[in-house]
Amino acid sequence: MTTSLTVDKDLALNLFRQMVLIRSFEDRLLQYFLQGMLPGTLHQYQGQEAVAVGVCSALRREDLIFSTHRPVGHAVAKGVSLKLIAAELWGKSTGCCGGKGGQMHLSDISVGMMPSNAIVGANIPIATGAALSFKLRGPDRVAVSFFGDGAANTGAFHEGLNLAAVKQAPVIFICENNLYAASTHISSSMRIEHIAERAKSYGMPGYTIDGMDAFAVYQAAQSAVDRARRGDGPTLIECKTYRYMGHSRGDPGGYRTREEVLAWGKKDPIKTLRERLISDYEQDDRDLDLIHQECQDIVQEAIDFAINSPEPDPTETYTHVFATLEGAIEHT
């Protein structure tokens, strides 16, 4: 877990800007939520931003990502508009899924954000299938599955990784090991230190990297993406990271020590990248503060858009069950 890796300045600034955007968005969403002004549930991404932006910066627009119940960071990093996300969270007709999806089911296929999945582990074989489709039909596109440490204990993980390896599917498995599956610490659910060790048993390369370092994530992802595009098959990348918030709304995280939370806070991906931008890339505080301010404005504009958007028409309950209305509900 060294931090000797470097990237060019434009990319470094872009990684920083996107992480700040995600953090600002999530923090503001929490404020609205605590005031009772945001409906539904909330699974937040603060602390893990380097993973989403590092991976998605290595992808093309037409590559597909398959996210989880904690999808806001992934969606922003893949290029989904904050307005569409915010409106979806507020259950508005202008949301990326017209209000039918909600916080756990964000999608915008125009930028390769496939419907995010709230069944832990389920997107692993699905991403594998998308990759097999690319392989079958020729284009050098790749698919990415994001999942947490908890998903690494599902049958879908085992079956999906094994199939991907057997078929040499162009898919990248990104395990965001934030140490907790809801409230259960990883030491209670597996006897190995690094989830990436499991790659060996499927015959694919596996790497454990510092998931708090956006450069490290980007470079590991880029290497796995190149490998997949070359036709050399899948890679498992375990990103050691930490979620600052509870698992979901109403979880104050009482199962963690204050020392642990503070220790991870010192490795904060935004703070450390900011320091590097100043020391290694000759950025000054004022420029970086400006980025923060711009992100705050984008966030507020998105939330205002969401709040001021219309509710979905009640008849929308019945649409998009099937491709055509002929297949739809007959007796309502």
Partner: protein, 339 residues
């Protein structure tokens, strides 16, 4: 053609005309193998290669999950479960994933996939016998197809492959027409002149297999054949003319045709191989009683498997399964009940 040959022919033609169609399952394309559990895919890997007739590990979650993902990415996968019972290993992928993706995304994505399930009790015991259509019919977003004969099997399968929604396609093991060592001991194996060319039978249709005036018998798959046999016996022995409707698609359901028939015959007997509680017959009976109650001269009646797992021994399986004699008896009782 037998039903296995008709299904194979449908897949072959669909694969020839559309390069995005591929097959995925266990033992479906192995050279020197048997072409899936019931020979349906035999020889297809020779024509299309192992990339498009994709053999997998014994990983039902991965088979269905990969089919969902491939469909989301624009392919048209046809997944086979070696036995229909094995789909329960992958129910999350069917119920939470395939069925809900279009809805959750507000129509941004389609999941054009087919899942083929060999079903029916054939003295293999409780885990290789179930008819599972009710589970899928219950789930919004899935289409459910269950043909009874080779012509329908080919036309419905071609339509299912070209459909933009996930289709659960049930095939009864006693109707395949396996040969030699692959023949089922108690099979019916219907053989029909199946058109060589491509054709589709629209999903969401039922078929009146025999017109009648005294009672409507609703049945699917193997039970359609029993119902037709019973109808001939009722006509010859009891002068009762039964209308037999093949419920070849359960979702979407052509309910209008059922209502028209009931308004004509005033009696409904439902025959299904599934367990009686919560079967497709229960839903159809409830809806018919809502829509045509004042046309009914007798309570709607059901013949189905009892609420037990499928037993293995032939003697016990005979108790479990509906029979032609039970259909005849039930129909006579219902018609003679007239006040």
């Amino acid at each position: 053609m037998t039903m296995a040959e008709a299904l194979r022919d449908g897949m072959r033609l669909a694969m020839r005309s559309d390069p995005s169609v591929f097959l995925i399952g266990e033992d479906i394309g192995i050279d020197g193998g048997f072409g899936g559990g019931f020979t349906v895919t035999l020889g297809l890997s020779g024509e299309f290669g192992h990339e498009r007739v994709m053999d997998t590990p014994i990983s039902e979650i991965a088979i269905i999950g990969a089919a969902v993902g491939a469909a989301l990415a624009g392919a048209r996968p046809v997944a086979e479960m070696q036995y229909g019972d094995f789909i329960f290993c992958a129910m999350d992928q069917v119920i939470n994933q395939a069925a809900k993706m279009r809805y959750m995304s507000n129509g941004q994505v389609s999941v054009p996939m087919v899942v083929r399930l060999p079903v029916g009790a054939t003295q293999r015991g409780a885990q290789h016998s179930q008819s599972s259509e009710a589970y899928f019919m219950h789930t919004p977003g899935l289409k459910v197809v269950c043909p009874s004969n080779p012509i329908d099997a080919k036309g419905l399968l071609m339509a299912a492959i070209r459909d933009d929604d996930p289709v659960i396609f049930l095939e009864h093991k006693l109707l395949y027409g396996g040969k030699g060592g692959r023949k089922e001991k108690t099979s019916l194996d219907p053989v029909e002149e199946v058109p060589e060319e491509e054709y589709q039978i629209p999903l969401g249709t039922v078929e009146i297999k025999r017109a009648g005036t005294d009672i409507t018998i609703l049945a699917n798959m193997l039970m359609t054949h029993l119902a037709l046999e019973a109808a001939e016996e009722l006509s010859a022995r009891e002068k009762i003319e039964a209308e037999v409707i093949d419920m070849r698609c359960l979702a979407p359901l052509d309910f209008e045709t059922l209502v028209r028939s009931v308004k004509k015959t005033n009696r409904v007997l439902i025959v299904e191989e599934d367990n009686i509680t919560g079967g497709w017959g229960a839903e159809v009976a409830a809806r018919l009683s809502e829509a045509a109650f004042f046309y009914l001269d007798a309570p709607i009646s059901r013949i189905a498997a009892p609420d037990t797992p499928a037993p293995c021994a032939r003697k016990l399986e005979q108790v479990y399964l509906p029979s032609t004699q039970r259909i005849v008896q039930a129909a006579v009782d219902m018609v003679r009940l007239i006040p």
